[in-house]
Amino acid sequence: MPRKAKSSARKSAAAPKAAAPIDIDAACKLAATLLSAARLPVIAGMGADVAGARAAIRLARATHGVYDHLASAEIMAELEPLRRARRFATTPDEARVRADCLLFVGAGLVQRWPEIGARLAVGAPPALQRGRARKIVWLGGDRADVKGLGAEVDALAAARRDMGPLIGMIRARAMGRPIKAEKSALRRIDSLAETFKAAHFGVAISSAAALDPLALEQLAGLVEDLNATTRFSSLLLGPRANGAGVTQAGAWVAGFPPRTGFCSGEAEHDPWRFDARRLIESGEADAALWIDAYGDEPPPWTRKVPLVTLTCGDFGGGLVHVRAGRPGVDHDCVEMAIETGVLTPRAASAPSAAPRVDAIIERIMAHLPGSCA
């Protein structure tokens, strides 16, 4: 299944700095031994492209283990309105060409997506809304981001903790229900509510990193309410390290997003029980494979556990480290691209022989007991 990786991987695997130098096949063999001997192994991090995610989930299944993503807290928060209420979503393309009202919500959005202003063409009127201008509102944004967006922004500052109540107030006024506010504050809230109701096609832009879960759900509720009389949708920027792409792969390979375990053989999804960090800190999990091919993020736990690491850097906190190629840089890949909002092919920008996550996992799986390889 992996293209050409098997032959090239051996010569290209960089020797990890901290962990003992070891060739890639010996590393995969050791990983297989650790994971198959464990009572409850965890495939964590999962910073990988779609092929890497598919392989990681299959490895979790083969070892009766768990798969979790390094940004699962955000994944769970993004899923909450979908799993529990009603969610309206749209694409960056539609936000760019159709939205006559862009509502940015929360801080850190530009940090997550530096090109956001250019990509959404915030300074230009929406191409498919003939003759309609574009109104931009930012609730609770970083001052520098708001100023640097490249368009006129109606900004309202708010601390993260106040975002939920703020969105709630707008929601109440949009539906004509009372709130407790001074006259001037009430006028401000009312005018925001009117702006959103007057939009022909508004798009709220936020992320699970920018808002607390209930505030994110409140925003989903506001968008839903606005659709009673006009059109409004939302665009969530998605978790880092291909969290959204890994979630999609989980949906078709196992039926579930990350934080899913195959302890009994069947997939079970439990956001609390299968949180990799908790599993390791509590001592319930007794071996871990940490994957972050997008970055070199260290695992979030402090407890010692038999650990194999697979990152694009030189992280060496575990027994064995394998340096993986970066998706879309060292090798071609498919990932959830922030600029399209869909699973997107990405040709390698600086092709190298660094091994792909899926190729490494295939080799680990080949060493599992009972594997036919």
Binding site: A85, R86, R87, R231, A251, W252, A254, V342, L343, P345
Partner: protein, 544 residues
């Protein structure tokens, strides 16, 4: 390797066989009984029905919206926290792998995912790649896209539209083109809440009818084997039989496939202003030889509706069971995912159930009516065996009808229909006819030379039991199911059509993407490198 399936009741409408006899397989193909050679493997099919592998022309088995449905309903899955014992969606497997396995178990060997939005084509193909055993195909959906609507508004000719459709088929690796509530999703983006055949899409000045005609013409011009696959306007609304009849007339005698017709067979008679108009609609279909239909049968179950008809899905939020939903305003199409529970005790659901069966039974020509539940919209595909049982037994239908709420029987003609499907008719509807409709000339038959997809069912007077689990299933000549268990799970192929076109459209579209979206068009392509099994594609030829 020569395989002999011996002594079964062979039903193969294309070769005219309906007799006790053998089927021979060699190198993945059906062959004539070899002279002077014996079989390397022999399978006893005495007391069995032997047919070609079944083909499902319309089942939502892959892609972004299916993924959304799975993610939306973690509580509906099999092993979810051991809390709900069994659910209908759990029975459908609900992963790519189980989708292939459970279809195969029922003797199906080819399934079409009918609603792939071009920008989500890669997602669909990735998922299809992971569905084992069965062969697959997708239909690309157009008719709510700015490029097409702008071209039509500018009065560009049929050739320009055909080039665009052909390029879309190439880019999405699709077998055919589908249109879903033409213009409706575009109108919904302009806050239109109801949209019928002659309503006009704001900003474009085009009616749904005009868009549909343009795509229908393109399919004809490109000589696609599969005609335009149409999801009409006004799905699910009382009185929408008028829309269906008007749409059949709008086809102008050209080939047209109407998807999940059951959802358009509604009158507005009776105290609840909702009644079956299936008899009237069946009569219209019988009189319109250019039209083919699939049913979209409703069965009573907890399920989820997945549709690119966003207008309908938005309306459906009000009746969601449980009260969740997802509404997606996409680049080229929109979509909605809304869970729903069809209840036997619900008058409206019971009428829907009856409408579907009436259409099945009142449309005379099994070559023009196809077997679907519009999975999972009418019910998960795993209920098929029960529907086969209902089609083949009027007594069984009478039992069901008697269990329905008061007033349902009066609103439908179902109770008066005596027809029972024969095995031959089932073989036409689920094998021979779909192969023809899709242009897959290598299958749907047990004639020599056909692809050796062969389903063997142990005869049982309970047809639901009989069709639930194949005794044997051969895929490309290899045994994949034995006694209802998967014994081998190879990966099948995905079939596409590749009509020729003027390459100038590529440059035009490249410019369109760069200027409108500020992106390169190939971000939305399906390159070989993105697929785990890029070689696993087959081609369906265009008509001569």
């Amino acid at each position: 390797m020569i395989v002999r399936i011996s002594g079964g009741h062979v039903v193969d409408p294309l070769s005219g066989r309906n007799e006790t006899g053998d089927v021979w397989i060699e190198d993945g193909k059906i062959v004539a009984p070899p002279q002077g050679q014996s079989a390397d493997a022999e399978y006893d099919a005495r007391n069995c029905l032997v047919m070609a592998g079944a083909i499902d022309i319309h089942s939502h088995i892959a892609g972004a919206n299916v993924a959304t449905a799975r993610l939306m309903l973690p509580e509906a899955h099999a092993a979810y926290m051991a809390r709900p014992a069994q659910t209908q969606l759990a029975a459908a497997g609900w992963t790519a792998e189980e989708t292939g396995r459970r279809y195969a178990r029922m003797g199906f060997t080819t399934v079409v995912e009918p609603a792939v939005s071009p920008h989500l084509a890669l997602h669909a193909h990735l998922e299809l790649s992971d569905i084992p055993i069965i062969d697959k195909a997708v239909l690309a959906v157009l008719g709510n896209d700015d490029y097409l609507l702008s071209a039509l508004r500018k009065g560009e000719g049929a050739t320009a539209v055909a080039d665009y459709v052909a390029l879309t088929l190439q880019a999405t690796r699709a077998l055919g083109v589908k249109c879903i509530n033409a213009g409706g999703a575009m109108a919904f983006k302009e806050n239109v809440r109801a949209f019928s055949l002659d309503d006009v899409v704001p900003q474009y000045g085009l009616t749904s009818r005009q868009i549909m005609e343009a795509l229908q013409d393109a399919a004809v011009k490109l000589k696609l084997a599969h005609p335009l696959h149409l999801h009409m306007n006004n799905l699910g609304l009382p009185g929408n039989v008028e829309t269906a009849i008007a749409t059949i007339d709008a086809a102008r005698g050209l080939p047209l496939h109407l998807a999940h017709l059951q959802f358009y067979a509604y009158g507005k008679e009776g105290g609840r202003a909702f009644s079956s108009a299936a008899a009237q609609l069946a009569e219209k279909v019988n009189a319109s030889p250019h039209v083919t239909v699939d049913i979209g049968q409703v069965m009573f179950s907890d399920t989820v509706t997945i549709s690119l008809d966003v207008l309908r899905q938005f309306t459906g939020l009000k009746t969601a069971r449980p009260r969740k939903g997802f509404i997606y305003d996409g680049d080229i199409n929109s979509a909605g995912v809304v869970p729903y529970s069809y209840k036997r005790s619900d008058f409206f659901n019971a009428v829907q159930w009856a409408c579907g069966l009436e259409l099945f039974l009142l449309i005379d020509d099994p070559w023009r009516v196809f077997f679907t539940t519009d999975h999972p919209n009418g019910a998960p595909f795993t209920v098929y065996p029960e529907i086969f049982a209902l089609l083949t037994s009027r007594d069984r239908r009478a039992e069901w009808l008697a269990s329905l709420p008061k007033g349902v029987a009066e609103t439908t003609t179902l109770g008066s229909i005596r027809r029972e499907y024969t095995f031959e008719e089932l073989a036409i509807m689920t094998r021979a006819a779909p192969a023809k409709l899709l242009g897959m000339r290598d299958r749907g038959s047990l004639a020599a030379g056909a692809t050796a997809d062969v389903a063997v069912y142990g005869l049982h007077k309970d047809r639901a039991k009989m069709f639930a689990a194949a005794r044997y299933l051969f895929k490309d000549g290899a045994l994949v199911v034995r006694n209802g268990e998967i014994v081998h799970a190879p990966y099948g192929r995905t079939f596409r059509a590749t009509p020729g076109f003027d390459r100038a459209i590529e440059r035009r579209l490249d410019r369109y993407y760069t200027s409108l979206y500020g992106l390169k068009r190939d971000l939305f392509s399906v390159p070989d490198f993105a697929l785990p099994r890029p070689q696993a594609f087959g081609e369906v030829p265009c008509l001569a």
